[in-house]
Symmetry: C2
């Protein structure tokens, strides 16, 4: 973990502690950015990054022009298990097809997205990291060339984003899957569909007890 | 193949020959039921059954009050390969979850649907057979208890129905998968998820060259 990443993580924790200690309820407003940055003793850009992750995670809500508010913090209308199973099903199928249809152009684009993902994580730029991580997986699904898989994966994306943000929030537990992502890329490059598939499943069920065949 | 089944099949073929020999185009009207039954020398219930299958298959269209017309006969907006891959993906995942969550009540209902499916096929009651066959697979997906799988499978159903109808139309090639369906049921009953999964995939890719891992 880089210093920057630790700093954003600590700030996220501080915001959550602040909400708890001040007994803020859903709908309650937080102090303005400048004030919060002073309370926590962090720079405004660090605070802004922490707030972004908390918004992705449904913990906070920013209403343009009126401020930042406490939100319910719950994942969509489905259970995490249902979501991860559906995600794993699509990605597992997509990567086999992606290995069949991959072109040099596809693989170059995937490499770029992967590089960006890893760089953003390293820099502790979490909100952009989350976007880049999802772009990596979305690119693999697109490479399957199956319109059903592409459509359904798009439907899942908001919930996947929420879940990933919540994982990032659980700092202690959050596993850095960078090497796993590099392995997925390499296996796909070499057309090793089964290996890539196993890694995709491992990536999704990291931190989760539930796994399916 | 029962006698009844052969008769409906032959009538389907006769209707298709009639369209070809009379050079009927999309939108052209067919003679009335009574007249067609006389031309082909079959009973009206046999003709009605043949027309039903041809409607399911997009070959004919019945406009209430004005008659039966030639339609384009093409499958939805997606390729058959895309459709079968998406179908196989959902059913393969669903049956593993169905094996985990199955209850006595589920299995009894599945047995009833299976019995009905087999009976209708044996009787050559094709249009109802198609409905019962789909109900069997839909019941397994429902048993997965995963809202994503259930929703997506429902989206696929019209195209699966069209494809199945077209398979039934290709009489010579049409494989009677009854014993395969009985095996799926038994494997599920005994909780043999992997075996059931393999049979599900075999059922979908029967007649198709393409198969995926």
């Amino acid at each position: 973990m880089t210093k920057n990443r630790n700093l954003v993580n600590e700030t996220i924790q501080q915001v959550e502690n602040y909400i708890q200690q001040n007994e803020l309820m859903i709908g309650d407003k937080l102090p303005i950015e400048k004030e919060l940055a002073e309370i926590f003793g962090v720079g405004r850009s660090t605070l802004r990054e922490a707030v972004k992750i908390l918004v992705y995670s449904n913990v906070l809500e920013v209403k343009q022009g009126s401020g930042t508010f406490v939100k319910n913090g719950s994942i969509g209308e489905f259970s995490t298990t249902d979501l991860l199973r559906a995600r794993s099903m699509i990605e597992s199928q997509a990567i086999v097809l992606a290995a069949m249809y991959r072109t040099d152009k596809d693989m170059l684009r995937l490499k770029e997205v992967l590089f960006q993902r890893n760089r953003l994580l390293e820099a502790g730029n979490f909100s952009e990291y989350i976007e880049a991580d999802l772009a990596f997986h979305q690119q693999i699904v697109a490479m399957s060339q199956n319109p059903f898989l592409i459509k359904w994966y798009n439907e899942l994306l908001p919930d996947i984003k929420l879940h990933l943000s919540q994982q990032v929030l659980r700092m202690e537990d959050y596993q850095d899957n960078t090497s796993l992502h590099n392995t997925i890329y390499r296996a796909l490059l070499e057309g090793k569909a089964e290996e890539a598939q196993a890694m995709v499943q491992k990536n999704i069920f990291t931190d989760e007890e539930d796994e399916i065949g």
